[in-house]
């Protein structure tokens, strides 16, 4: 668990948000994340996020599915329990293709969903700190992470100058955790004193 201090700026217009993200990055602030009510095309490029490697993971899961299906069916029908079905060879590749295809899809689909949840830090019973409730409704929330060299007041002033409507400072858990919100809220205050002192 890492408790960090954040400067949170909320925007009410994506046309303001885009140049703001560019200016904030240029000024050298570290953007923790930008929370928006809906996907915004091109925001990932502006934020300088690298391309996701989810598809590479998907390919690996798919290959695993293919290999599992072929090797298991091959083992069953050639080693463990060979059967003569309609005079076909013991390893009838065309007959195995549909099952191989389905296992490939199953492995890559399930694997990618789980990987996606992990990358988004989503799981049952897991909690994440909300920087602004309206980020799911009508506000675009940009969160800057304070490093040891960040001056909070300067950061707040800078966010105001690029068009943020609401600005505040929050000390919160940056990662995900198991448990209850109220319990952790208390933890923050105690820990924050130590870790940020």
């Amino acid at each position: 668990m890492a408790i960090k201090k954040f400067v949170v700026g909320s925007f009410d217009d994506e046309a303001v948000l885009f140049p703001a993200v560019k200016k904030v990055r240029k000024a050298g602030y570290k953007i923790h994340d930008v929370y928006t009510p809906f996907p915004i095309h091109g925001l990932d490029q502006v934020m300088g996020l690298r391309d996701t490697s989810l598809h590479t993971a998907g390919f690996i899961y798919g290959i695993t599915g293919t290999a599992t299906a072929l090797s298991f069916m091959g083992w069953v029908f050639t080693r463990d329990w060979p059967l003569n079905i309609g005079g076909k060879p013991n390893f009838p590749l065309p007959a195995f293709i549909p099952i191989t295809f389905e296992l490939t899809v199953l492995f890559s689909a399930v694997g990618m969903v789980l990987t996606f949840c992990y990358l988004c830090q989503l799981a049952p019973f897991v909690k994440k700190h909300h920087f602004h409730e309206r980020a799911t409704d009508d506000l675009f929330v940009m969160v800057l992470e304070c490093t040891s060299r960040t001056n909070e007041e300067d950061a707040k002033a800078f966010l105001a100058s690029v068009g943020a409507k609401e600005i505040n400072v929050q000390v919160a858990e940056a990662d995900w955790w198991l448990g209850r919100y109220d319990k952790d809220e208390k933890l923050f205050e105690n820990k924050a004193e130590k870790s940020l002192a």
């Binding site: 005079g87 065309p94 007959a95």
Partner: protein
Amino acid sequence: MSFREQFEIPAKYKMWSMILMAVGLVSILIGYFLYGAGDEHQNARFWGVLLYNSVYFLLVVNAAMFFICATTLAMGGWQLSFRRVSEAISVAVIPIGIISFVILIALVLGHQHHIYHWLTPGDDKLILGKKAFLNPTFFIVWTVLTIAGWILLGARMRKISAELDERGPLTKEEGKRYVYKTTVWGSLYLVWFALTVASTVPWLWFMSIDAHWYSTMYSWYTFASSFVAGIALMTLFVIYLKNHGYLELVNQEHLHDLGKFMFAFSIFWTYLWFSQFMLIWYANIPEETVYFKHRVQGPYRGIFFLNLIINFLAPLLILMRRSSKRNYTLLVFMSVLILFGHWIDFYQMVIGSISKDHVELNLFDFGVAAGFIGLIMWSAGNALTKRSLVVKNHPFLKESIIHHT
């Protein structure tokens, strides 16, 4: 905004289209003296090569109009930045349609029973049972209707699009009326396309070569082949124009989508290929396996698996990555490979049934194909110069400009 809207045919382009067409003509002449004047089997090869080449390139250019109509019906906007290119390619349906028509009619009227066995059914019960469909009158009437339908409905779609250039920017009401009109004509084309390419025409022109055999997958399979090859042809033209400084509105996003189409429909083609193959392989009934016997285990084995490698494995592995769909060089390579692969596919569909015992693939095949490529270049190039390359007043154009995959 100012764009280079008017295409001028570069001298080199014109020269190459002429050279290729000349190569095609010379090949047909030489082929006629080599094969056409020979015995019945040689004669069948001559006509078979003309048949699969003309129909392949006809279906490929026709797929460009199918692409326009399908995206129109889907209210697509992204393809508008290169829509005039697809339109220009579909103009080639007129000359190639006429050539194919002449060849098909010559086959039937010339009693080429080594190709169309059903022309002389004798007392063959199976063929007599299909007489209502497989007879010269129906063949000729349906072929005329088919090709005329493609040409006329395609011309109508191009005319509706051309009308946009003469008018200024459309008001909202005019835009709605325009979209309605083009949707109605596009759906008429699609209905005709479904009744022809996606069902009857491959049965009539190709599957009837094996008059005893039948497959319900055959037409879809042919359609998938021609559509993926059509997308590849459009990609080649788009990249050519882009490299010569036209089509400023086209960027990597549009090419990415064309690459996705190539990838997706290569997989779709494989799905149909496999559906046709596996059921016949599994059931193992002699009257069905007759089609695959000499292809899988006989002289066509090499071409049969080459077909699968080029048209399935190569697109699957090469086009899977996002970066390869955005890479001009790789897309050009894949387009050429796919066009060649489906040409080989059509080769084995037709010649594989005409000459079952030995494979003959030589300069005659390639020469005739070169002739059709030259014809496509010539007629699409001329059509491109006729109009602005940008559909300036189309209501959805902005969607194509800001397109982002």
